[in-house]
Each structure stands twice: as structure tokens, then as C-alpha cells.
């Protein structure tokens, strides 16, 4: 087996007295699509946000594409390691979080220009190509407010991809969308997984997407990965009654 793309060891996270993550260990391989699911409060989103240090883990370590960062104080050296790690991780949020004061193409170009310091011409070409990919090149010069939720989320995916990350993290990317717009976002994600073989970690309740696209599903329960397996295994018969109960409830 090749080196894992993401390696997480002994990850704990507490908010005050509340321990949300109680020791997560996982290896995710290049090109693998992992779906994290579970009840709200089970720690799946917190885990995802710990992977790129939007939440500071209490203890443990995360390695993404060869950049390893452990829990610790915010020293200058550690901060720069976290930035290196983030450049390798694209993230898509439930609320899209596009920059409202910039046009669509400016949103996509911002990070490659400012963070990587690439030339405007190169970045513009790549940004336009990405907007073509997500079917929104005709909206390049609009402000995000003129777009539907599904369109905004597709721009958010293009914005994350513009940094040419090695890993994509999706934090409930369709939960804020109207039902009829969910499909267009899932279609973009599916193409990403299948034709670009991007390594993806997806927190979602879309079990249809999980069944079709995921290589592995991890059931989060009370701060640990309670059970994991391929979608085929999971949907046929989960080993744990707890997992089965949840699956029965959401399907």
C-alpha cells in the first residue's frame, strides 16, 4: 500500500469539560472517498475541522500529504506548518461562505493569487476552466448574492479546487440547500471523485451519494469511529446495532 494521504493519530478534542472527540485514528489513502456519518453531536464535523486545524485538537496529530502537525501552542513555526497543511486541503462548508464583496471569479482567484502568489493570467485561465467544470462560467462576473444556493456551493467547490489541493474536505455541503438543488452539487462532487480521483472526506447525510461514490463509510458515535466499512457492507448489514439503528432511521 502507498503512503496514506491523511494520517490521524490519537486525536482528542474537548470544548471545556465536554470531550467531543475521544481518540480518532484513521488512515485515508490517495484517491479514497470517505463518508463520515452519525448523529449531530457525534463529533464528525469537529473531526473534519480538526483535520485542517479550524479547530485546535486537544491532543493528537494530523498528517496531510506529508505535512504533519501535532496539537500544541500556536508558535510561529507551528502556524506556518498549519498553513502548509491547509494549502493541501480544500474545504467546502455547509453555508458556502463565498466572499460577498467579490465576484465569482474573484472568489476563485483570491487564494491562488494571495496565498501562492501565482500570476494573474495563469490563475484566471485555471479559474475559468474550473467554472466551466462546475457549469458556472457564465456567472464569472456576478456577485454571489445573485446565485442560487446550489450555484454558490459549486463556486465554493471551484474556489477550493483553485488551490490545487491534494485533499478535499466537505462539511455537510448540501445540508443548507433546497432539496431540488442538492443534486447539482452532488453531481459535481461525484465527478470530482470519479474522473479526477480526488481524495475526499465528506460529512453528509446523503446516503445515496455514500452508496454510489464512497469507498469507505465511518460511523461516528459519541466521539469515536464506532464502525467503518465499505458501503456494500454497511448497507447490507452493519455489525453494530447502534449503526444499524441510525442507518434504518436515515434511509
Amino acid at each position: 500500500m502507498t503512503e496514506p494521504m491523511i494520517r490521524v493519530r490519537g486525536l482528542h478534542k474537548s470544548f471545556g469539560a465536554l470531550e467531543v472527540l475521544k481518540g480518532i485514528d484513521i488512515d485515508i489513502h490517495p484517491g479514497e472517498v470517505v463518508v463520515l456519518f452519525g448523529r449531530s453531536g457525534s463529533g464528525k464535523s469537529t473531526f473534519l475541522r480538526c483535520v485542517n486545524f479550524l479547530e485546535e485538537p486537544t491532543t493528537g496529530s494530523v498528517e496531510v500529504a506529508g505535512v504533519e502537525v501535532s496539537a500544541g501552542p500556536p508558535t510561529r513555526q507551528r502556524k506556518s506548518a498549519i498553513r502548509d497543511l491547509r494549502i493541501r486541503c480544500g474545504m467546502v462548508f455547509q453555508q458556502f461562505n463565498l466572499f460577498p464583496h467579490m465576484t465569482v471569479i474573484e472568489n476563485v482567484m483570491e487564494a491562488p493569487l494571495r496565498v501562492k502568489g501565482e500570476s494573474t493570467a495563469d490563475v484566471r485561465d485555471r479559474a475559468l476552466a474550473l467554472l466551466v467544470d462546475v457549469g458556472l462560467d457564465d456567472k464569472a462576473d456576478e456577485h454571489p448574492i445573485r446565485l442560487s444556493g446550489g450555484q454558490q456551493q459549486r463556486v465554493a467547490i471551484a474556489r477550493a479546487l483553485a488551490m490545487q489541493p491534494q485533499v478535499m474536505l466537505f462539511d455537510e455541503p448540501t445540508s443548507a440547500l433546497d432539496p431540488e438543488l442538492i443534486h447539482e452539487v452532488l453531481a459535481v462532487m461525484k465527478r470530482l471523485a470519479e474522473t479526477h480521483s480526488t481524495t475526499m472526506v465528506v460529512v453528509t447525510h446523503e446516503m445515496g451519494f455514500a452508496r454510489e461514490v464512497a469507498d469507505r463509510m465511518c460511523f461516528f458515535h459519541e466521539g469515536i469511529i464506532f464502525e467503518q466499512g465499505t458501503p456494500a457492507e454497511m448497507f447490507a448489514q452493519a455489525r453494530e446495532p447502534e449503526t444499524q439503528r441510525f442507518l434504518d432511521a436515515v434511509i
Binding site: R83, R86, I87, N97, F99, H101, E110, V115, P144
Partner: protein
Amino acid sequence: MTNKADGEAVPQTRHGLAHSLEVASLRVPFRVKVALVWAVIAVLLAVAFTRSGFDVEWMIEKAPAIVKGAWVTVLFSVIAITGATLLALLGALGRVSRNPIAYGVSGFYTSFFRGTPLIVQLFLWYLALPQLAQGLLPQEYAQWFIWPAQVAGIVGIAFNYGAYMTEIFRSGIEAVPHGQSEAAEALGMSYRQRMRRVVLPQAARIVIPPTGNEFIAMIKDTALIGLLGTTLLWADPFRVAQLTGKADFRNLEALIVAALVYWGLTGIFSFFQRKLETRMSKGYVRTVPA
């Protein structure tokens, strides 16, 4: 029962008159009515002034000197708002910082300058600072802190308004949804980049209306600088009006002119402020108003 009979009988005619007046009034547009109210106020004031022996000729003769002071007001205000904006930006970044020095210094700054009267602060800069400098520094350096009244006044106003604007800017920064900064963070942007490229441009839109109000208040407060004492060259409309009015015992005429100058300046600025707000709303309204 009797009440009901009264209620129907007596006000019937009155009701008819009030009713027809109301109907007539409905045909007059609201704006016309408001204009009428303003006109009535103007007439009342004119009558009051005339009866008090208001000397229009004197006013017309002396007005240009007073109006000329407006450039002093504008100059002082522009310098002071520039300084206040810079101070407020630093102050606000301090207020949202987790660095104890930045947080502590900005906290002291807003507390002191919002907690003491502006006029006291002006005199502190003008009279007390030189004394402090003399006590602390060798003579040749201490002299640098003996400022003309105009400089002390502008610095004083900038620091005072900067403190109020710090709180405006801070609340503007905090009003930008946290997800914005988080998205920028996830893209690998540094603290500086997040602030400069994502948070502050959005906060700017939020703080423009209240900052405009501060500027309007500042235009008027520059009149206080004259109280430190000033030369005729740097005299603002209020100062000129005081001097000329006192000389001829025409205080009413002179001060009215000064008041009109400030009123006009704030009116002009309010107009531009509205224009700016419309321009800044780009990206926040689905259809731009024509």
C-alpha cells in the same frame, strides 16, 4: 343608551366638517405638507428676527468673512477624520486581538478618550502635554510638544473621535460572519490577508453610515478649536462670527451666519454620504436600484 344617542347627535355635524377636511387633506401629498411646515417655521423665525431689529445689511456685509472660515473647518475636519480613521483601525484591531498588549492598550485608549470631555482633552493636548514633556525630556526635545492651538486641536479631535470610531469599527469587524474568516483561513490565508482582503472590506460597508455620522459631528466640533485661542488666518466661522459680532454688537446676525455655514457643510456631506452608501451596497442587493 343615552350615551349612544349623544354620540350620534352632537358630533354628527362636527364629524361632517372634520371628515370633509380630512378628505381634502388626503389629496395633498405628504411632501407638500412637510414643505408647508418648514415654510411656516421659516416665516415665524423671519418675523421674530425682524421684530428684534435684525440687521440684514450688516449681515450681508460681514457674511463673506464668516463664510470664508469654512475652508478652515473643512481642512481641519479632513485632517482629523483621516487621523481618527487610522487610530480607530488600529484600536479596533486591538479590541479584537488576543494579544494582551494590543487589547490592553486599545482598551485604555477607548476608555479614557470616551470617558472624558472633549474640551478637557483639547486643553490637555494644548497646555498639559508641554508641561509633561518639560518634566520628562531635555529642553530641546520638550519644545517639540509645544503646539499651536490648531495642531493641538486637530490632534485632540482625532484622538477623541478615533476612540468612538474604534468601537464602531470593532462592532463592524465583529458583524462580519465568522464563516468568512474561516473560509479564508481554510484557503491558507494569513491573519493579515484575512483581515485586509476578506474581513475589513466587508466591515467597511457596515461602518460607513455610522462613520459618516461621526464626521458630521466632527465638522461641528472643530468649532471648539477656536476656544484654545487662534490667529485670524486660522479662524473658523464660529470664531470669526464671535469676533465680528462682538465688535458691532451684532451677535445674533453673526452667529446665525456661522450656524448656517456649519448647517450647509453638514448638508453637503450628508448628500455625498448617501451616494457612497449606494455604491458600497454592490454585492449585497440582488437588483441594484436604478
